[in-house]
């Protein structure tokens, strides 16, 4: 960026006491990640980005196809448990968006994905067992 322009932008930003952000504000904010809002329906029970360690199955660490296939299976389970009923609420395209979001967001946040891998595998297994009862 041209230094003169940058200085001008800083000056413009001063009255708002948000100088550092005004530079960034010149660029159009990125589109929110696809599937994020849909996937946030899962956060109440599975934690932010599927990372909860205190409740239901962790979704962090699962591949998109694993999540998608689990959701597909749940749709036909009888009698439906709560999650089986819940899975019936999404179209095929929406399930793919949700699955892709979880797989992607948890591979791009590097710091936590490695350290939580073991716990994820364990809890996924126990959940699958419970589900196939």
């Amino acid at each position: 960026m041209n230094p003169k322009k940058m200085r001008l932008r800083s000056l413009l930003g001063l009255p708002f006491a948000l100088a550092s952000f005004c530079v960034a504000a010149q660029t159009t904010p990125a589109e929110p990640p696809a599937g994020r809002l849909l996937a946030s329906n899962c956060f109440q029970c599975h934690g932010y980005n599927g990372k909860s360690s205190i409740g239901f199955e962790r979704l962090a660490g699962e591949s998109s196809s694993e999540i998608y296939n689990e959701l597909r299976e749940m749709r036909t389970k009888m009698p439906p448990k709560m999650m089986d009923m819940h899975a019936r609420g999404y179209t095929d395209a929406q399930m793919r968006l949700i699955a892709d979001y979880f797989a992607k967001v948890n591979t791009t946040t590097t710091a936590t994905s490695t350290s939580t891998a073991t716990a994820t595998t364990t809890s996924s297994k126990s959940y699958s067992r419970q589900k196939s009862d």
Binding site: L18, P29, L37, N41, Q44, G47, M82, H86, Y90
Partner: protein
């Protein structure tokens, strides 16, 4: 830092707080599984949130998590902590204490850099884009979110504080919940607990039926021969009809006596008598849940444009249909969705996402989905559940239940009871941690 120190610090920080100070706050003590506030998404704006319940706390948190440090969020709340209504029926049977249901705001401040302001809102100026507080503070905003929950009508006869203390509704968890617990404990064997259910819409559709079950279960074991008389203003059980019909007719048979379509005309707290469409009825304990309306700040600022009680909103953004730039979420808004904490949390996410898109010059997501889920204890170790998915219907402009994706548990079970505790903890984590 204790809470008092925090509020003092927060008020000292004042409106001149720079983005840099938010960044420093946001960086402190963030647990990895909870997410961190991104330093810069390119989105800037000032959002004020009124009310720190399930909706208000969630919207504040997600505005920061998704919007980043350029979005300053101020949360105005009159109480020092939120007391969960969810699970508060378990205070009545002694399985929980009120303090175990309390959630402070320190996580929202330290982990997400939300500015907490303790105070009462006196006025919203939707033209000048500012909120006034009782202490004279003015909070300017680009977008305002109003999440005050519900207020209650008074039954004739219960106008005084003394009368209200004798006939608590205990429908806003807190002092009255503990009072009602004490009244139950003071009952003698063979006595009568009378409760009333208001016409819908009210907060937590299965809640009153759940309460009847929890109270009946406790009385059966501890005050044998006692009865729970349920006076429902609705034409029948409005939530989980299978589970509660079974609970009333089988599980708690002979203890719960259920009457539908009952109008309460007045209540005499001195003689402990209800004047109803069924005639006069005496109770040793009376728990009258009154008709609801949106929290006072809604009506007093011209936002109650649905039946004079609720705030009309566009469910793509939760923006008020009465005032641009003002969004109303949770129990106070008039939508086709139930009034309950779990779905308020999801409405909050849709509202946060929409505000961030609007601040970026984008349109809101055209096809939002919400989910409602809850568990209801039927006894001290079994529960049922209820769930529904709602999708936006562009023709009616409302959220409509997705066919085949709504229903209740086929039977009550101990597994459901255990899941209920897990669900509660994760839901509260998503909203307050």
């Amino acid at each position: 830092m204790n809470r008092r120190d925090f509020f003092r610090l927060a008020s000292m920080a004042g409106l001149g707080a720079t983005a840099a100070s938010w960044t420093q706050l946001a960086g402190a003590a963030t647990a990895p599984q909870l997410g961190t506030v991104p330093t810069n998404t390119g989105i800037t704006g000032r959002v004020v949130v009124i009310g720190g319940g399930m909706g208000g706390a969630s919207v504040a948190k997600y505005l920061r998590l998704w919007g980043g440090t350029g979005v300053s969020v101020t949360l105005v709340e009159r109480d020092s902590a939120y007391t969960s209504n969810i699970l508060s029926n378990l205070v009545l049977n002694g399985q929980r204490t009120i303090t175990s249901l309390q959630y402070g705001y320190s996580n929202l401040a330290s982990r997400y850099g939300i500015r907490m302001v303790k105070g009462d809102v006196t006025n919203i100026d939707p033209v000048g884009h500012s909120v006034s507080l009782a202490d004279g503070t003015k909070l300017p905003y680009d977008r305002l979110v109003v999440a005050p929950g519900v207020d209650f009508d008074l039954y004739p006869g219960l106008e005084t504080a003394a009368a209200q203390a004798k006939v608590p509704h205990a429908w806003k968890a807190g002092v009255q919940t503990t009072q009602l617990r004490n009244m139950m404990v003071n009952m003698k064997a063979g006595q009568t607990f009378v409760m009333s259910i208001p016409a819908k819409p009210y907060r937590c559709p299965p809640g009153p039926y759940e309460r009847a079950c929890v109270v009946a279960d406790w009385l059966k074991k501890n005050r044998p021969g006692s009865k729970v008389i349920v006076l429902d203003a609705n034409p029948g059980i409005i939530a989980e009809p299978l589970a509660f019909a079974n609970a009333f007719d089988v599980v708690h048979k002979g203890v719960i006596e259920y009457h539908s379509g009952v109008t309460i005309n007045s209540i005499d707290a001195t003689t402990m008598t209800l004047n109803t469409s069924l005639g006069n009825l005496k109770g040793n304990v009376i728990n009258a849940i009154p008709p609801h309306r949106a929290g006072k700040v809604v009506a007093s600022n011209g936002l109650a444009n649905v039946g004079g009680r609720w705030a009309g909103v566009d469910v793509l953004t939760y923006q008020s249909t009465a005032a641009p730039g003002v969004h109303v979420i949770g129990d106070a808004s008039a939508t086709t969705q139930p009034k309950a904490g779990h779905i308020a949390n999801q409405e909050a996410k849709i509202c946060a996402d929409a505000i961030l898109r609007l601040l970026s010059g984008r349109s809101p997501d055209p096809s939002p989905i919400t989910n409602s889920a809850c568990y209801s204890p039927i006894t001290s170790d079994t529960a049922s559940w209820l769930t529904a998915i709602f999708a936006y219907d562009p023709v009616s402009g409302t959220m409509q239940p997705v066919p085949g994706a709504a229903g209740e548990a086929p039977t009550r079970s101990k597994d459901n009871y255990e899941e209920m505790i897990k669900w509660f903890n994760t839901l509260m984590e998503d909203s307050f941690a």
